[in-house]
Symmetry: C2
Subunit: 198 residues, 2 copies
């Protein structure tokens, strides 16, 4: 069953891990209720980067924001969406699904979260430790909230943290660039995927 | 949509919460691969207590241990089960399901975990805060590991923590009683469900 860092085709060791953060239809599609303006345009770059990673036996972990239909696990400032009858990121809904172009493959893993950072109240650190991860590459949306919070926690936990700039997005270019400046000043790498894949 | 502590029938506020810990077939059934000897016999008491709680608008949260098929998220001392081709608590498997007698109802919630404590790397505290929980009642298996670790973390987080003794189990009565002694010495209530329901 077990050999060469795999059990039944599942990775049991991976020093390189790609996170795909919050790329659910509710945030990505042009008519998504929580649309991040820049997210849809990053789909081709994310697909290319995921293909590269999978070819090199990197692990891929999809980070899903999910909320229970009551909304009791949403941030306080968003709970009104649920009270007003406009819930989002409900498990099993269309809004919770990943766009086809970057849909998960059978070997990929997933976690669910309720806050900005993918480490807050989740098993992400358990998985990364279990894999023996060293380098954590961040893709997804959006820069000021979930990408940044996850990057800071990843760096804080001593993973070599790389934000893949053309695979992350924000509402505007200005917001993206301001966050990249801050992240670089924290010692977090921010590089274009072409620099990593070359 | 929202009134009287409910949205679409889902609880949005509950001061009393019952946790059902690790009562999955793999741990409970007489032929379960990870059987805890005392667990099966607690099913009727748990059912009765859950019925009581639901009638009084208490929240019920099922705690599922789950592991990814690779086993990379299992404790180191258990990872050999996966390497040897005997995985357990795989999501969607028969072993991961809750026995029919205490099966979840539509209004109940669930979380997943990979370690003993239901608070370790999970969103349980997010949910309890969201509900405004004050009293946390523990049922499930087993006393020395998951019940105890969860009780200690619940107490540490300042929830009034009650271990429901006839609804929890261990491999032997001696182990159960030794843990109840320790838990009481920590200021954690350990009481029979009849005392709570009277």
């Amino acid at each position: 069953m077990s050999n060469n860092n795999k059990i039944d085709g599942m990775l049991t060791h991976a020093e390189n891990v790609i996170l795909v953060i919050d790329m659910e239809n509710d945030f990505v599609l042009p008519d998504g209720p929580m649309k991040v303006a820049g997210a849809y345009a990053t789909l081709p770059a994310i697909k290319k980067f995921l293909d590269y990673g999978r070819t090199h036996e990197w692990a891929v972990i999809y980070i899903y924001r999910i909320h229970r239909p009551s909304g009791i696990d949403a941030e306080l400032f968003r709970r009104h969406f649920f009270e007003e009858g406009h819930p989002f990121c409900i498990p099993g809904s269309k809004g919770d699904a990943i766009p086809d172009l970057i849909a998960p493959k059978p070997r990929d893993m997933s976690i669910t979260k309720q806050r900005f950072s993918a480490f807050f109240g989740t098993d992400l650190d358990i998985i990364l430790r279990g894999l023996g991860a060293k380098n954590v590459y961040l893709t997804g949306t959006q820069y000021p909230n979930c990408v940044r919070s996850t990057a800071v926690d990843s760096m804080s936990l001593d993973y070599n943290t790389i934000v893949v700039t053309d695979c992350c997005s924000a509402a505007t270019e200005e917001i993206a660039n301001a966050n990249i400046t801050d992240l670089r000043n924290m010692g977090i790498s921010c590089v274009n995927s072409s620099e990593i894949m070359k």
